[in-house]
């Protein structure tokens, strides 16, 4: 049980794919392994560090 706070600026949104075995819910949509979605950049980075998603690239 922990809270991780991180400050940044100008990190673009990122296109990600949900990793095997993981589920993600974003904007009231459920995503399963292999599904692609767009997340705010810092959120995507944190979720990649937690091994939930793979970042495919920036969304310009």
């Amino acid at each position: 049980m922990a809270l991780d706070a991180n400050v940044s600026q100008g990190v673009p949104d990122k296109r990600v794919v949900v990793k095997d075995g993981s589920t993600v819910s974003h904007d009231d949509q459920a995503y399963r392994a292999g599904d692609e979605l767009v997340l705010p950049g810092p959120t995507a980075i944190a979720m990649e560090l937690n091994n939930y998603v793979t970042i495919l690239g920036d969304v310009v």
Partner: protein, 228 residues
Amino acid sequence: MIHDLLEEVGSKNHVQAVVYRARAVGGRVTHDRGDPLDAYATLAQAPMLVIQDKLRMLAGKRPIYLPEAFRRVGGELVSVTPNLRTTVGIDYVATQLGGVSSATPAKYIAVSNNTNAPAAANTATNTTNTRICWGTASATDAAASTSRGEYTALGVARAAATYAHTGSATSFTQTITFTASGACTSLQCAGLFDNSAQNNGTLFCENTYTATSLATNDQLQIAWTLNI
């Protein structure tokens, strides 16, 4: 971008077996040389950075891998702090699992610059200035104090987080990114609620982090890890 960090952490957590092959050279037996570290280096996965830093912090040392990983992607790790589940949050879990569950999960994150410590007795409607005042709306920025409430504007108003869970893992995360639309002074606490509106719902957990001021367009990312 963080390959060397993963390699360094990977080198701390594996069993390494190296064989030096014998070969005959001019009637004498010699052994191949080489750099076994280069030849057998292993690479950790990104979550190992988190785990390694947790072990460091449990040993009283400062985290080093996670802050560096965030720095390289343009961020700055503000803090990692243990959680506090409120009394009403405990009751909320019991109701969700065994009673009549509410329609919405606890997925809404709010922030404040109230200077009180987290308290198990706190609630979503509290306005008493001995606890974090989630029942008070703060629509404009001001100095941090014991009476400050929940930010309801400036890009940091309560909003739904992104939920993630890996099968069989005994934890899940709620992660959100706020982008400030104006100055926010000394943000230092966060609450996790089951309702999208300020002064409503159940305060499931609350927590504090190192006070951080935001300028316009600064992004504050909060990742809440909850063990189950």
